[in-house]
């Protein structure tokens, strides 16, 4: 292993040089600090003496606004808005934390529960996957960090800081540790959430979504494994690995490779490259359904299968219900039966027999095929479903569950988030005819067969 030892030597030299330098810097700083403490003591003494004349310490500047002598009172007069903006400092080293256990290995990172040695505080550490591409430090990682920094909200996971390993390409997010994610939690719950609990969760989730959308942030990967819940019933949206800022009109050529398949809106499956907040609202609908039944709502095996599951639950798009959908790239190869009698609402009602009319109304509107028909987060928050009995359960009254994240490693069954930089999805290879599948289903008396062909 001659090669390896050679590198080791260079590393040694390098680290020795670094150490020496650091020591030098430390000494300089120490000296500086001493000087400062002395200066500080002097300053304090002087200030004490000057205490009375203090308010007069006002700059007199030549071109400045004419200095009125009523300055003492003008300071009191109006309270001017001041922001708490914080500052910046170098990343700390990850060695300030001890790993307690691994929580999850995702597509873009590894998450573990860890303890900050100095304070004993338990946090979640997410190691960012550094896919160095043609453009240096991965812009995806930069975006995830920036958007988390900008999304301070009660129901968005709190990013405390970013730390680095000994190598500068080891980057970790330090987040508040949250006991559960909704996916793992539902796996250990014997029964689905109660209607009152679903309402609370949905309201919290939607309030976070409203915040993000108000600030022009698309999440683009909403699903139960990315939604965390602590033992006090407080929900937090996590995983901003797919999120990005958008605008009005939306930037052209957004990637369609977003959102995990089971939560992916039909317009994405049909290949749109301009989409908006409605894709998150679709995912919200999927999550709503999943919370009610403890089962993912639309478990497609692939893009084509996902679309067919969507169409059989929500009906088949028509030029009336979704004008222009035929112009979407993948819709050209879509063979849909004409003049089918549709009653999407009734299929949803059959599937959720315990959901009230208002609840069905909300769920169907979130799962509207036409993105423009879906409600905004604001609309959802104001929906009558949340006003009718049972009332949303107070978060404090939520049951507590043993935390999987606090213990063993989790396993996952849902498909992973789409891989960035992959090819844009088409709709499979061969012509696929789904009419047979539909014929076997009870809800499909209307004979909603359609054919998808490779374009």
């Amino acid at each position: 292993m001659a090669g390896a030892s050679r590198w080791a030597n260079i590393d040694d030299l390098e680290s020795q040089r670094k150490k020496e330098k650091e020591e030098k810097k430390r000494l300089k700083q120490l000296k500086q600090q001493q000087a400062e403490t002395e200066a500080e003591a002097l300053r304090a003494k002087k200030e004490q003496e000057e205490l009375d004349s203090r308010p007069a310490k006002k700059r007199k500047l030549s071109p400045s606004p004419e200095n009125r002598s009523a300055s003492a009172s003008s300071g009191e007069k109006r309270k001017l808005l001041r922001f708490e903006a914080g500052g910046w400092g170098p990343c700390r080293n990850v060695s300030n934390f001890e790993t307690l256990n691994h929580i999850e290995e995702g597509t873009y990172g590894w998450v573990s529960r860890a303890k900050e040695t100095a304070t004993g505080e338990v946090v979640a550490l997410k190691k960012m996957k550094m896919e160095y591409a043609q453009d240096g430090f991965p812009v995806t990682a930069l975006r995830e960090i920036q958007l988390l920094q900008h999304s301070k909200h009660q129901h968005v996971i709190n990013l405390r800081e970013v730390v680095m390993g000994d190598q500068l390409d080891e980057v970790y997010l330090v987040m508040d540790f949250i006991e559960h994610d909704l996916k793992s939690l539902q796996e250990i719950m014997p029964e689905p959430f109660l209607a009152s609990e679903v309402k609370t969760l949905l309201l919290q989730l939607t309030s976070a979504l409203d915040f993000l959308h108000t600030h022009w942030i698309l999440h683009r990967d909403l699903k139960t494994s990315n939604i965390l819940l602590n033992n006090r019933g407080i929900l937090k949206i996590a995983d901003f690995g797919m999120a990005r800022r958008t605008s009005d009109p939306p930037p052209p050529n957004l990637t369609q490779l977003v959102v995990t398949l089971w939560y992916r809106a039909p317009e994405l499956l049909l290949g749109t490259t301009t989409y908006d907040f409605a894709i998150d609202m679709w995912s919200l609908g999927c999550i709503f359904g999943e919370l009610l039944s403890k089962e993912p709502l639309l478990q497609g095996k692939n893009e084509v299968d996902e679309l067919s599951k969507i169409f059989s639950l929500c009906g088949i798009p028509t030029d009336m219900s979704w004008p222009g959908f035929r112009r979407l790239p993948n819709a050209r190869s879509l063979k849909l039966p004409r003049d089918v009698e549709q009653n999407a609402g009734s299929i949803i009602r059959t599937k959720f027999p315990f959901l009230t009319t208002a609840g069905c109304g909300l769920l169907s509107s979130l799962l509207a095929l036409n993105p423009e028909s879906r409600p905004t987060a604001q609309d959802v928050l104001a929906h009558p479903y949340f006003k009718e009995a049972p009332k949303p359960k107070s978060a404090a009254l939520f049951p507590t569950f043993p935390s999987k994240a606090g213990g063993e490693k989790r396993r996952r069954a849902s498909p992973h988030a789409p891989v960035r930089g992959g090819a844009a999805p088409g709709l499979g290879g061969k012509e696929i005819d789904f009419s047979g599948i539909f014929a076997r289903r009870d809800e499909e008396q209307h004979g909603a067969g359609f054919t998808l062909r490779m374009g």
């Binding site: 810097k25 300089k28 700083q29 500086q32 400062e36 006002k58 700059r59 500047l61 030549s62 071109p63 400045s64 606004p65 200095n67 300055s71 003008s74 300071g75 109006r78 001017l80 808005l81 001041r82 922001f83 708490e84 903006a85 914080g86 500052g87 910046w88 400092g89 170098p90 990343c91 160095y132 453009d135 240096g136 430090f137 812009v139 930069l142 975006r143 960090i145 920036q146 920094q149 900008h150 800081e161 970013v162 680095m164 500068l168 390409d169 980057v171 600030h215 022009w216 800022r245 605008s247 930037p251």
Partner: protein, 295 residues
């Protein structure tokens, strides 16, 4: 780009009091010169890359943050021009106007080839082919490696704090609120105010690192109105924009002094180039030591 709702993180007193460079024995006046030249270099590169001023401004703030405070980067350790290039590259990358390493490197190499540090920035606006400036393949590869290698250093020193909220949009909004756009010299006023904001980016008092954007916008308007001769309301209108008299006064003086500082710098360095690398800085320090011992 959408304006962000967040305020700009500001430098702490400690960060303003000393710097990595000073701890490494670099005299404060030399540090000021290099920082000023580095900020101008970033501005010049941004113009040649035809980047929007918002991107350039953010890059200058990031560049300036990097060298600030005892834990900041030191001029004795990092090549100023590399920090400038990587700052600009990283900010552009995250924006809707990404620039390829090739273009960034070509432009920086072109700027490096000029004989003086104090090029006329306005002249650069007419230079359109700097992005195609010839760089040999070998140089390009090593420069690209540099560009990428520096990125994580900037991110580490800044703790990934790249956020800057800028005063440009605010400035226009404030002018509208002050109802100046029906006055005859309104567009001149707006231009002047924006120019003042651009000057302030180069301020040796680091105005963008010590003041929030509403105050910067307000001061620029105040100053520009005096200069252009547009009359603003006879009340303490700046308070509406969250700026108190004291801060306004301080900023006005700060903005006014940038031009003087620039002149002084130009006079001080004359035909010599301001050191933009560790090596060049060493040479400068060496010649200072030599001339000191002669005296």
């Amino acid at each position: 780009m959408q304006p962000s709702h967040l305020a700009t993180p500001l430098a702490t007193i400690e960060q303003l009091e000393t710097s990595g460079s000073q701890l490494d024995g670099i005299p404060a006046d030399l540090e000021d010169s290099v920082r000023f030249a580095g900020a101008r270099l970033t501005q010049a590169a941004g113009i040649l890359l035809r980047l929007p001023q918002e991107i350039v401004a953010q890059a200058i703030v990031v560049f300036t943050r990097f060298f600030l405070g005892p834990e900041g980067g030191s001029l004795a350790e990092y090549d100023t021009k590399n920090i400038s290039a990587s700052s600009l590259y990283i900010i552009a990358k995250m924006s809707a106007w990404p620039k390829s390493p090739r273009n960034v490197i070509n432009v920086y190499t072109y700027l490096d080839s000029l004989s003086s540090t104090f090029i006329d920035i306005e002249e650069l606006e007419r230079k359109h082919d700097a992005e195609e400036y010839y760089v040999s393949e070998g140089t390009f590869q090593s420069q690209k490696a540099q560009l990428f290698a520096i990125e994580p250093h900037i991110l580490r020193v800044l703790g990934f704090q790249l956020h800057v909220s800028l005063p440009y949009t605010l400035c226009i909004t404030y002018l509208q609120a002050l109802d100046v756009f029906n006055q005859p010299r309104a567009s001149e006023l707006a231009k002047r105010a924006i120019a003042r904001l651009n000057d302030a980016l180069l301020s040796p008092q680091l105005l963008y690192l010590t003041h929030q954007s509403p105050c910067l916008a307000t001061a620029a308007i105040y100053l520009a109105a005096k200069e252009v001769g547009v009359k603003l309301p006879d009340v303490e209108w700046w308070e509406v924009f969250d700026t108190d008299r004291e801060e306004l006064g301080f900023l006005v003086v700060g903005m006014l002094s940038v031009a003087n500082f620039a002149l002084e710098e130009k006079g001080k360095w004359g035909k010599r180039k301001v050191p933009m690398t560790v090596e060049e800085l060493e040479v400068e320090l060496e010649s200072r030591r030599a001339s000191n011992s002669e005296e």
